[in-house]
């Protein structure tokens, strides 16, 4: 039984929603060919303010409604949610699924916080939930985990998934500027919001990591499970020292299988300069995945923007529509398995870069090494950096071998209390 067309309803006509509407309109023929019948955009839930936008004026005004009940009364097969944020998006998605509609969303916050619940509901109702666009813009990530890497045990994910912070870090490294002026530049170019906290504190990256880790490990990783540290305390000298040591600085979102538990964390790291991730510059995103069969695979591209995000949303729409046309049942999403534990941050083992301002006299290093040694932290290298003759202080940078996070934090507290240590200026974890 051939369908005449597949009805699509769109919630939101902002950056993403507008982009999706444009693609559905401009590429109608190509998409119909892929699906096997036309995709008909039947209703768009807008805000009154959207109606004055140029895009709204190009479109048939009968498509628009500002009333959500009116929207849900329209004959659509697939509901696309493109408003972002937790509420009312969550309510809309639940309502759509409960009504037996397939849903597609680009909403990282809702999926990160409520993905497991929504997938379970979709499974009960026999509908699809597409969320490819929730992570990494147009870079294929969700589908590869669901399809291409399905035979793999995922060992780890190492991801640059926030363009704003990667732009700021690239700028600090290249131009030697400090954090606040790099941030200002990012805001001027529209890469950072006026209130940039979600990006620079790593919250956005944690949402995306929660989505990827849940899928990769088939367990429910919530944003709150993720240790999260932002980039605002990085100094321009850290970039200089890192470079001298052969490292670049990146904000990585990391999920790692370790025995029976998983590590999930977002924080700045030193990574070797010649690694692929160190060469991902500016607003680009890249996700490195390690699987037991496939080894290392990396996915790279633009992580945001109307067009890349539309690419992913429309791919999901086409995929769902193809399944409707082929009369296929719903493919299950991941189902959380019991017994997977999140490793507490204090238990992880990693290398550290520690920068300190110390008194410029003999015996200082002995006192520092003693404290580190007491906590079973061994020093890989130490370099004395700039000396301030007036203040009789020197800056030293210590690279440690693998050490426990808990021990290192205790040691850092003790170091800060030493009379000869003026300041523990910074510490950055190292991924080799």
């Amino acid at each position: 039984m051939k369908k005449q067309s597949i009805g699509v309803g769109l919630i939101g006509l902002g950056v993403v929603g507008g982009g999706v509407a444009r693609v559905l309109k401009n590429k109608a023929n190509i998409l119909a060919e892929q699906v096997g019948c036309p995709l008909a955009l039947r209703k768009i839930k807008v805000l009154a303010s959207d109606l004055s936008r140029p895009l709204a004026k190009e479109m048939d005004s009968n498509l628009f409604t500002t009333d959500i009940d009116d929207f849900f009364a329209s004959p659509v097969d697939i509901v696309v949610e493109a408003i972002g944020g937790e509420n009312p998006a969550l309510e809309y998605l639940k309502r759509a699924i409960s009504n037996g509609k397939h849903v597609v969303t680009s909403n990282k916050e809702v999926i990160a916080k409520h993905g497991a619940e929504l997938l379970a509901l979709a499974g009960q109702k026999g509908v699809e939930l597409g969320y490819e666009a929730s992570v990494g813009g147009g870079i294929p990530l969700i589908a590869p985990f669901r399809r291409d890497l399905v035979a793999n045990e995922i060992r780890g994910i190492y991801a640059i998934i926030n363009g704003t912070t990667n732009y700021i870090l690239t700028k600090m490294a290249r131009e030697g500027v400090d954090f606040s002026s790099a941030l200002k530049q990012a805001q001027k170019l529209g890469y950072a919001e006026v209130n940039p906290e979600n990006d620079i504190e790593g919250i956005d990256a944690a949402y995306k990591l929660a989505i990827l880790a849940s899928l990769a490990f088939q367990t429910q990783v919530r944003p709150d499970d993720i240790y999260c540290e932002g980039i605002s305390r990085l100094g321009s000298c850290d970039f200089r020292y890192a470079k001298e040591l052969g490292f670049a600085i990146r904000l990585l979102a990391i999920a790692k299988r370790s025995n029976n538990s998983i590590e999930v964390r977002v924080h700045p790291v030193l990574i070797p300069q010649d690694s692929l991730l160190a060469n991902v510059d500016g607003v680009y995103n890249a996700v490195l995945v390690e699987g037991d069969l496939v080894g290392k695979v990396l996915f790279f591209g633009e992580g945001a923007g109307a067009q890349p995000t539309s690419s992913a949303v429309v791919a999901d729409i086409v995929s769902v529509a193809q399944r409707i046309v082929l009369g296929a049942g719903s493919k299950a999403g991941w189902r959380p398995k019991p017994g997977k534990n999140i490793k507490p941050m204090s238990d992880i083992e990693i290398r550290y870069y520690i920068r300190m301002n110390v008194a410029d006299r003999s015996g200082v290093l002995a006192q520092i090494s003693k404290i580190l040694g007491d906590h079973k932290i061994s020093i890989a290298s130490v370099i004395q950096k700039e000396t301030d003759n007036m203040a009789q202080t020197a800056e030293i940078v210590i690279m440690t071998h693998l050490a426990k996070e808990k021990a290192t934090q205790l040691a850092l507290d003790e170091l800060a209390k030493l009379a000869v240590v003026k300041e523990v200026s910074n510490f950055i974890r190292v991924e080799a």
Copy 2:
């Protein structure tokens, strides 16, 4: 109606076939969970010589047959072809499809040469043809084109898809060795075959490009349509000069949309040192795709080997099996559209690096520039390199602006005939 199990038949127990058999055996539970019912390996077509392998001895001997008719008489839903080469693989695939079996193959040669025909046959018979493993080992490439990038008009593909040549080029660049000793090293490590022609002449890369370009442009690109040049004429000095100019040398497989035609070519290129592809070292593969919506996306990973290739083959098996379980019809592969022309190599426009050995006296450059000028080739930069005082010759390297291939080849012929030009030592195209 729930199936009790899905029968898999495997043709070939070599590197890929053996890898697939191991994964189906070792990961039976995980795969059954993904599919919704067990995957049962029911028959393996082997050569008599395979039976003495350790893997064969671990397995139930009833699984094996050396007789292809016996193989096809077994009750399987999915036939996996893992013998490689054109014949008899093509015949086996056709027979399987004609018998209404879904097929999965890792065979680049068969898909490059007969993909369109096999996909049409599969379409008629309502079965799936999975060929993810035919390009790039475990790197997801076919599925992203078929699913994730479906809303995009693909503008271009720039691919490092032959690990052997990339290993040799990396070695020549890093260690300053010449081609033949880098090749010997590659052979010693098992990265190059005893008869390495298919790899070093770009034939293997052309097969893979034919597969990707056909899919990306929905047209039939045959291996014979692809202009193909290998890496054997690269000298170690080319790497030195390229580096000085800020470039790396890579063997790229390129497919590009240009107006109403497409360019498809495999040849060594100079690419900027800081580009992502220039940082893909050793036996790794990477494919950069440009789409109108998604911008640039890059896929990177191991392009060969038993485990990565098994990862892709098993992903295809699971995907087909899921469709069987869900009772879905067959999803069409690409169907060639008429009217897409392959641009003749002589018509392409590109920049060139030209290395010549010339008489070390005044007026030489004037004669060279005149010939280039006559062919409307303008010089971007020229550097005089090593001088041989004894022979009174000098090496010069010219970088041109964009020029027509045809004009450049004519100019190179004329340059070679100049009395002051001892030798046109090399030319390499430049992708910026």
